[in-house]
Amino acid sequence: MTDTANTIKHHVTDALLMAYSAGTLPEAFSLTIAAHVSMCDDCRARLGAFDTVGGALIEQGAAEDVASDSLAATMALIRAGGPKERPTPKPRPRVDGLPGPLQDYIGGGLDKVRWRHVGMGVKQAILPTSRDATARLLFIPAGAAVPDHGHGGTELTLVLQGAFVDEVDHFGPGDLEVANEDLDHTPIADIGADCICLAATDAPLRFRSMIPRLAQPFLRI
């Protein structure tokens, strides 16, 4: 059992989990949810429930006639070795507390992360995903704050190590905060330890003070 499994308080919303099940989310959001589900059996079970909805839609949906040689063509495909398959995600040990899907994007553990300083001790690393949303790792030194910001779209923040507090609540390892345009917040890392998060956004953040706003185009935050 994952060591965070019983302490997670903040979970994926139904809307995001349904969209993840349907496969319609931008890659950066899918990565964040796959990472949370890897750490949270409760959301894994909820995801299974949403997949069951998908199964029911397949079962009840309109059937389309397949080609007359469809079965024969499928058997031929199987005999020829089958379609190119993506590898099945295998269970593997956590490296630096990072769930498997995230290790894939980093290429290993935290020592493989190419951090860039963004000021006040905060570091970030943008992960390679499709451009309709951005996934970044954030390093916030113990007690430091990410500048006060609002969101044009949706921001998902998953705590990987340490913890942060904002106007909403306290977020520890495995907790996921879902912020939208209604929330302006200043996440502050817990004083006890440095905080490492995975954050995904589908629109640029809106900073409330001038300096980060001027720096924004260069930092891609």
Partner: protein
């Protein structure tokens, strides 16, 4: 036909799909595969076409989905999913690869238990509860059902999906959660 006998018929049918997948896994049974194919391939094709594929692409993807079912039969866990649910996840992944050309990172897989055969009572209850959910979806008011279909066919973005879906997911969620706990326990 009254509701009870429809239920019974569906459950028998579904148990049969679980058995078919086991026959494919254990014996590479082509007749079992043909039965599954006759039922599911047209449904998968319909799903892909409603998700925006043209006929040619949907036909090709359907064959790939069904071939994947053959290849991955050993990964099917009937205590966590029905055949339809599992086939949905394969079709969804194929759809993302082929239509959206995006990646959808997946959660880590769970470690596998030592028991080769799952408990039949667990399998049966999961299948029954999945069918009850299916019936609840079919009984939803049209407007609500259309919204859910739109979400799964890719016609709604995540911000357009309501957090209150009105779907009765509690029972099936608890059932899958029990199966996960059992799996974790066996691994200890």
């Amino acid at each position: 036909m009254d509701v009870t006998s429809t239920n019974e018929r569906r459950e028998t049918e579904n148990e049969d799909w679980v058995a078919c997948i086991a026959l494919i896994r254990d014996d590479r049974d082509e007749q079992a595969f043909a039965r599954l194919f006759a039922h599911f391939a047209p449904r998968v094709k319909g799903f892909l076409m409603r998700s925006g594929s043209d006929t040619t692409q949907a036909e090709e993807c359907t064959q790939e989905v069904m071939a994947t079912l053959w290849q991955k039969a050993h990964l099917f866990d009937p205590t966590r999913a029905t055949a339809a649910t599992w086939i949905f996840t394969i079709a969804r992944n194929r759809k993302i690869d082929a239509l959206r050309r995006q990646k959808r990172p997946e959660p880590e897989d769970l470690p596998w238990g030592h028991e080769p055969e799952p408990d039949q009572a667990d399998v049966l209850v999961l299948q029954q509860e999945s069918h009850q959910l299916g019936e609840a979806i079919a009984a939803l008011p049209d407007k609500q059902r259309v919204l859910i279909e739109k979400a799964y066919f890719g016609d709604l973005s995540h911000s357009e999906i309501a957090d209150q879906t009105g779907l009765p997911l509690g029972t099936i969620k608890s059932r899958i959660r029990l199966a996960l706990d059992r799996l974790r326990h066996e691994m200890k």
